[in-house]
């Protein structure tokens, strides 16, 4: 299969595919971070995670329309405002959902799964009623468009770089929050032993609500970032949900580093295979490999050593 390409062409192909893989990697990391908090730390299965991302994307879409309409002078930077808004809107909805739904179900994780699936159906229908069934695209500021030529055969899109930078930034922020702040310590304490955490004076209910909210907020920011590389439809969230869960489980649910490592391996494998096989077969092979490895090593790549 390599015969028809020259050496330098092959190098360029691998570099470009590798870079496409890096963008996919950033996308996976963004998707998985919110879930790593909600599922990895809290152990709640949020099947509506994709819908929270889509909410962020729609918020971005609305913000871009608002800026274009009323303050076109600041259009270049609307994106940053949109991300903050996406975080706030998705986060608030997340806290509301935690209050109304999730907190009744902490002892029944499988039921959470069904209830949040129901929630995702409702959200999808709301998006469809409000924004229409068609996909919407966001007008991207000029400076993010275009691509950066590195050599005469390799060039990289700027929006891809932007998403990558964003992924790194949010990962660092989540890491600091979870492992360097007192809030993060509380979250981990509550997830490891709810009763004891309550006994030493941690307000477990508030911690849960905040954790869930922040996880959803991060999902919203991820959705906001996605608007730069694709369009948004009411059912787009469902496309991501399996990938996202697999990334988190494959990485080892409670490990942030594991999540990032698994996002890296899955995305690279998929994008390199995509070049040689059809897109769907690449996806099938990647998912099969992941499921296969999970069957052999159910605790994932990086497992915390815990006594149960």
């Amino acid at each position: 299969m390599f015969a028809e390409y020259s050496m330098s062409e092959l190098g360029a192909i691998f570099a470009m595919q590798g870079f496409a893989g890096l963008i996919l990697f950033s996308v996976f990391v963004l998707m998985a971070l919110g879930l790593a908090i909600i599922f990895g730390q809290m152990g709640v299965i949020n099947m509506a995670h994709g819908e929270f991302m889509i909410l962020g994307a729609y918020v971005t879409y609305l913000t871009s329309n608002l800026f274009a309409e009323y303050i076109p002078a600041l259009f270049d930077i609307y994106f940053f405002v949109a991300m903050v808004l996406a975080f706030i809107v998705s986060g608030s909805l997340g806290m509301l959902v935690e209050w109304g739904l999730i907190r009744h179900l902490y002892k029944r994780p499988l039921d959470t799964l069904l209830a949040t699936w129901g929630l995702s159906l409702i959200l999808q229908q709301i998006y469809r009623s409000v924004f229409g069934a068609r996909e919407v695209g966001v007008t991207i500021p000029d400076w993010i468009m275009g691509s950066l030529p590195i050599t005469d055969m390799i060039e990289v899109p700027i929006n891809g770089i932007f998403v990558m930078v964003l992924a790194i930034g949010i990962s660092v922020a989540v890491y600091v929050m979870m492992f360097r702040s007192s809030w993060g310590k509380q979250v981990r304490a509550v997830t490891q032993n709810r009763v004891m955490a309550g006994a030493v004076g941690i307000n477990t209910e508030r911690t849960d609500r905040l954790t869930f909210g922040i996880g959803c907020g991060v999902a919203g920011v991820a959705g906001s970032a996605f608007t730069m590389i694709g369009s948004t439809g009411p059912t787009a969230g469902q496309l991501y949900i399996v990938d996202t869960f697999l990334v988190v489980v494959f990485g080892g649910a409670a490990s942030l580093l594991g999540t990032i490592a698994s996002a890296f391996s899955i995305s690279q494998a998929q994008s390199i295979m995509e070049f040689f096989l059809s897109g769907s077969m690449a996806k099938v092979l990647t998912l099969l490999t992941v499921v296969g490895i999970l069957m052999l090593r159910p605790q994932g790549l990086f497992a915390l050593k815990l006594r149960k």
């Binding site: 179900l105 499988l110 209830a115 229908q125 469902q238 999970l294 159910p298």
Partner: protein, 382 residues
């Protein structure tokens, strides 16, 4: 409750079965025309899946989000046989390669793939309908339960498997019919399955098979195995410490669930006349769980009613108010989980059953009262 009675059925279970039998074999066929009856037959095929879920999820505590995989495998095994029968060289002589299924010809495949060959035989296909999904379930079960993967992780991985199979079927268009699935199925051993008469007969076959599965599932639940399953669901470690190999029980019940789902899938293909990936993937698999949850995850009959009612509601509402249907379905998920986790059967047990029992007692008391009153008389007479 189980220990109280050594009979195979308690009288209330027997009454429940009789009512369901009356509904399926008398009321529906008499009250509906062939088209509507066929529709109900389709709903009942989901009842098979729900039965399997009652065993896996309700009794065993294993939530599989991949029942669509087994439903689909069963359906595809049946569809492959029917498709081959429909693709005789005479019927397909306009194709560039006559004698192969039409979608293969459209995808420039000139020879029947080797793994399609055995499906020329009806016996093989019928065996495959049961064995192929059980084989898959066995592999998944061995791999997961031996390593003590359960609960949430199992659910997520089975969901991923459903996603993989859908992508695979859609991607391998030439071998599987792609998105459209395997369509235009006509005859079963020369017997036209599209006529009204055939539809009615298939409906009854479906109903009989469903009752067979209910009996098997009831037997499993009543046996010692069923009790171990329930013990395992509630306190897995204790069962393990008592010396039972927990994994084997889980594997067995998962395989049984797969076999039920697969029989449902095959009957679905026969009654509906096609099979497509839209009955395999993530969304249908979760919907199958909701049939079981609405009916009652602990009740075999409840699950069948759940499959019937949810599907009936789906057909009715999605035609009348397509916008509202998703809201309704979503709300149903949430309500079932929050308000009545044991589904309709649970509601029945809690609210209706005591009243029925009280009523029955009242009647039987009347019967009892008479001899009691007559007793003193008898005594006096003696």
């Amino acid at each position: 409750m189980i220990f109280k009675n050594s009979r195979f059925f308690t009288s209330s279970e027997l009454a429940g079965l009789a009512i369901l039998a009356l509904l399926i074999f008398v009321v529906l066929p008499v009250g509906l025309d062939a088209f509507r009856l066929n529709l109900f037959g389709k709903y009942l095929t989901y009842g098979f899946v729900a039965l399997g879920l009652v065993l896996c999820w309700g009794a065993g505590g294993i939530l599989s989000l991949g029942q669509g995989v087994f439903f689909g495998l069963g359906g595809y095994c049946m569809a492959m046989f029917l498709k081959l029968e429909a693709s005789t060289p005479e019927a397909t002589k306009i194709q560039s390669t006559p004698g192969i299924p039409d979608f293969m010809d459209w995808n420039q495949i000139t020879e029947l793939p080797i793994w399609w060959e055995p499906f020329n035989s009806l016996t093989f296909s019928l065996i495959a309908v049961v064995l192929v999904p059980v084989f898959f379930a066995f592999i998944i079960g061995v791999a997961m339960f031996r390593r003590r993967v359960g609960g949430v992780y199992f659910a997520i991985i089975t969901q991923a498997i459903a996603a993989i199979l859908t992508i695979l079927i859609i991607g391998q268009q030439g071998y599987t019919g792609g998105v459209n699935g395997i369509t235009d199925l006509r005859t079963l051993k020369g017997w036209d399955i599209r006529t009204d008469e055939a539809k009615v007969i298939l409906y009854f076959v479906n109903g009989i098979l469903l009752f067979g599965c209910i009996l098997i599932a009831h037997f499993i639940r009543r046996s010692k195995l069923g009790r171990i399953l329930i013990a395992m669901r509630d306190q897995e470690d204790r069962v393990r410490f008592s010396g039972y190999d927990v994994a084997n029980f889980k594997i067995f019940v998962f395989c049984a669930g797969a076999a039920f789902a697969s029989i449902g899938g095959a009957m679905f293909t026969l009654q509906v006349g096609f099979m497509s990936p839209s009955f395999v993937g993530i969304v249908p698999s979760i919907e199958m769980v909701i049939f079981c949850a609405v009916g009652g995850r602990l009740s075999l009959l409840g699950a069948v009613y759940g499959a019937l009612l949810v599907n009936l509601a789906k057909t009715t509402f999605s035609e009348l108010f397509p916008e509202l249907w998703l809201f309704g379905l979503g709300a149903l998920f949430i309500a079932v989980v929050l308000a009545f986790p044991n589904g309709l059967a649970g509601l029945y047990e809690e609210h209706v059953a005591p009243r029925v029992e009280a009523l029955l007692k009242k009647w039987s008391k009347k019967d009892l009262d008479k001899p009691e009153k007559s007793d003193p008389l008898n005594a006096a007479a003696e």
